[in-house]
C-alpha cells in the first residue's frame, strides 16, 4: 500500500499540562460554515472543570514564585512556538471560516500579543505599584500581587487573538487560568494548547476546556477555589443569579476587551497589597 492514510487529530482538553478526554466521554461536532464536519471535540463536564481548577491551584504558587523576568521569557517562548507553527494556525482559522488575509493577520497579532505581554512581566510593579506619602515615620508601599486562580470565558471572536489576549493578561503576573472555549474557536484553542505544552510553561498554568459555556459557567461562578472570573467571552443575557454566586467567595469579576493590549488588562487580575515599614535610625 503506497497511499498515505490521513490521520486526523483528536481535539482533547488541556488540563495540568496533559491532554485528557473529558471524563464524561462526551464530544461535540465542530462544523465549518457550510456544515461540513471538521472535528469532534471533547465536551468538558463540571468534573473536568474541577480537575482543571485543582491543576491550576497546584501550579499557582510556584508560577507566581518565579521571577517576573522568567515568566516574561516563557511568554516570549510561546510566541516563538507559535511562529514556528504559523501555517497550522492560519489553516485552522481558515477552516473555521476566517478569510485568508484576516487569518494571516490574526495569527500575526496573536504572536505579537504574547511578545507584548511578555515585556510587561517585570514592569507592572513599577507602573501599578507606588510609594505612598503618609503622615508618620513610615515607608508605605503599595504593590500588585496575582489574584490566584482565574476562570476565563474565552471570546468566541476573534478565536485565536481573543484567547491569547485574555490568557496572556491573566497569567503574566503569576495567576493561573482555567479557560472555557466554545464552538469552532475550540479548534484554535486546542492548537494553542499544543504550543503552550512546548513553551516551558509549567503544567497547570493554563488549562483549556472546550464545551458549553452555559453548562460550565454556574459551576465556575460557584467554585470556592476560583479567585477571579473573566467574563469577557461569557454568553450574552446571563441570568443575574448566576453572577451573584461570585459574591460567595468575593470573586473578582472582569468584563474586558476581547483583544485587549493594555497594562490595565493585567491590573484587572491583580490585588494591591500595602505594606507599612517603620523608618528607624
Amino acid at each position: 500500500m503506497n497511499e498515505h492514510l490521513p490521520v486526523d487529530k483528536t481535539f482533547k482538553l488541556f488540563i495540568g499540562g496533559a491532554f485528557p478526554r473529558s471524563e464524561s466521554g462526551r464530544t461535540f461536532a465542530v462544523r465549518d460554515a457550510k456544515g461540513a464536519l471538521l472535528a469532534n471535540a471533547s465536551q468538558a463536564s463540571r468534573k473536568d472543570l474541577r480537575e482543571a481548577v485543582r491543576a491550576a491551584r497546584g501550579a499557582q504558587e510556584s508560577w507566581a514564585g518565579r521571577t517576573a523576568y522568567n515568566r516574561g521569557q516563557i511568554l516570549y517562548r510561546a510566541a516563538e512556538m507559535m511562529e514556528a507553527r504559523r501555517p497550522e494556525f492560519v489553516s485552522v482559522l481558515r477552516q473555521i471560516g476566517v478569510t485568508p488575509k484576516a487569518a494571516s493577520k490574526q495569527v500575526d497579532q496573536a504572536i505579537d500579543r504574547w511578545v507584548w505581554y511578555a515585556g510587561w512581566a517585570d514592569k507592572t510593579h513599577h507602573i501599578l505599584g507606588t510609594v505612598n506619602p503618609v503622615a508618620g515615620p513610615y515607608f508605605n508601599f503599595t504593590f500588585p500581587e496575582p489574584t490566584g486562580v482565574v476562570g476565563v470565558m474565552a471570546p468566541d471572536e476573534p478565536a485565536l487573538l481573543g484567547l491569547v489576549s485574555r490568557l496572556a493578561a491573566v497569567i503574566v503576573s503569576g495567576n493561573t487560568a482555567v479557560a472555557v472555549v466554545e464552538g469552532p474557536a475550540s479548534l484554535a484553542a486546542i492548537t494553542l494548547a499544543e504550543v503552550l505544552a512546548t513553551s516551558d510553561l509549567p503544567g497547570g498554568v493554563v488549562n483549556l476546556l472546550t464545551g458549553d459555556k452555559n453548562e460550565l459557567l454556574p459551576w465556575m461562578m460557584g467554585h470556592l477555589d476560583i479567585n477571579a472570573v473573566d467574563l469577557t467571552g461569557a454568553p450574552k443575557d446571563l441570568d443575574p443569579t448566576i453572577l451573584e454566586e461570585a459574591a460567595v467567595n468575593v470573586k473578582r469579576t472582569v468584563w474586558g476587551d476581547s483583544t485587549a493590549e493594555s497594562p490595565y488588562a493585567i491590573a484587572d487580575f491583580l490585588e494591591m497589597k500595602t505594606v507599612w515599614h517603620p523608618i528607624g535610625k
Partner: protein, 302 residues
C-alpha cells in the same frame, strides 16, 4: 524462644497478581452518589487514624491535630470525630491530654519506627513506654530484615514479644509492603503477623514512596478472610500511606466491604491512616452541603 502456634498456618499459597490487580481495579468503578456518598465520607472519617509523624512535631502541633480529630469541622456537628490520632511516643502525653474524654483513641508508633532495626529489648521498651504514657494502640513495624532473610521464626517471635509488651493496648503490625517484594510475600507476612498475635495488620509506614495501593490492601484483606476462615480469629486492617483523596478512601471501603463483608467496616476492624485525607473529605462534604466546589482555603492548614 520459639513462637508456638497450633493453628493452621499456610505460607505456601501464591497470589495471582493479574487477577488480584484486575479485581482491585474493577472495585474502583462504582459510582457513589448523594446519601451513599455522605455515608461513605462519614465512615471514612470515623475509620481514620489522623496522623502526624514528623521530626518537626511539637506539643502544639499535636494539640491542634487532636482538636481537629475531635471535631473535624467545627461549623458542622454532624461530622463525626476520627477513630484515633497517630503520633510518635514522645508526643503521646500531649495527645492523651488533648483527647481525654472525647472517645478519640491515641495510637503511637513504637519499636524503632520506621525501620525496626534496633535491639529487640530497646524496641520492647519503646512499646512499653508508649503504653505507659497512655497509648491505646501501638503501631510497630515488621522486622523486614529478618523476613527477607527468611527467618520467619524470628519475625513471629518479635511480633509475639511486642504483643506481650503491649498489654491491654491493641497491636498493629506494619508490613511496609513496598519493601517486601511482591504479593506472595505480602500474604506471607500478613499470615505470620496474624498468627503471632497482631490485632491489626497495616500496609505501610508512609515513609517510603511505595505506599499503600488498592491491590495490596485487597491481598491483605484476602489473607485476613482466609485466616478468619481457618482459625475463627477476627483481625483488623489498616491502610496507610499515600491516601490523600476521598475517592481513594471509598475505594478502600468498597474493597473491604466486598472482601471481608460490611461487618469489617467499623473503626474496630478497619482504619485509614492519613494526614491530608481529612481535608479532602471535608471539602467533598462541603460540596455535598452547598452544591459548590470547595477549595483548600476552607479547611485548616495542618
Amino acid at each position: 524462644m520459639a513462637c508456638i502456634t497450633d493453628k493452621p498456618l499456610s505460607l505456601a499459597t501464591s497470589v495471582d497478581q493479574v487477577a488480584l490487580e484486575a479485581r482491585a481495579k474493577s472495585l474502583t468503578t462504582r459510582s457513589i452518589k448523594t446519601t451513599s456518598k455522605r455515608a461513605a465520607l462519614h465512615l471514612s472519617i470515623r475509620c481514620m487514624d489522623l496522623t502526624t509523624l514528623e521530626g518537626a512535631d511539637t506539643p502544639g502541633k499535636v494539640a491542634s491535630l487532636c482538636q481537629k480529630a475531635t471535631r473535624p469541622d467545627p461549623t458542622n456537628l454532624d461530622v463525626p470525630p476520627v477513630a484515633a490520632v497517630c503520633v510518635y511516643p514522645e508526643m503521646v502525653d500531649y495527645a492523651v491530654a488533648a483527647t481525654a474524654g472525647t472517645g478519640v483513641k491515641v495510637a503511637s508508633v513504637a519499636g524503632a519506627f520506621p525501620s525496626g532495626l534496633s535491639r529487640l529489648s530497646i524496641r520492647l521498651d519503646d512499646i512499653a513506654d508508649a503504653v505507659a504514657r497512655g497509648a491505646h494502640e501501638i503501631d510497630i513495624v515488621l522486622n523486614r530484615s529478618a523476613f527477607l532473610t527468611g527467618d520467619y521464626n524470628l519475625v513471629m517471635d518479635e511480633v509475639a514479644a511486642a504483643k506481650e509488651a503491649c498489654g491491654e493496648a491493641h497491636l498493629k503490625v506494619i508490613l511496609e509492603t513496598g519493601e517486601l517484594g511482591g504479593y506472595d510475600q505480602i500474604r506471607r507476612a500478613s499470615m505470620l503477623s496474624m498468627h503471632a498475635g497482631a490485632d491489626f495488620i497495616k500496609t505501610s509506614t508512609g515513609k517510603i514512596p511505595k505506599a499503600s495501593t488498592l491491590p495490596v490492601v485487597l491481598c491483605m484483606a484476602e489473607a485476613i478472610r482466609d485466616h478468619a476462615d481457618a482459625t475463627g480469629e477476627i483481625i483488623g486492617l489498616k491502610a496507610a500511606g499515600g491516601i490523600r483523596t476521598a475517592k481513594q478512601a471509598w475505594h478502600y471501603l468498597v474493597v473491604i466491604g466486598e472482601t471481608l463483608g460490611t461487618d469489617w467496616l467499623t473503626p474496630d476492624l478497619f482504619r485509614l491512616g492519613a494526614s491530608s485525607l481529612l481535608n479532602d473529605v471535608l471539602q467533598q462534604l462541603g460540596k455535598l452541603d452547598t452544591g459548590r466546589y470547595s477549595g483548600p482555603d476552607y479547611v485548616t492548614v495542618d
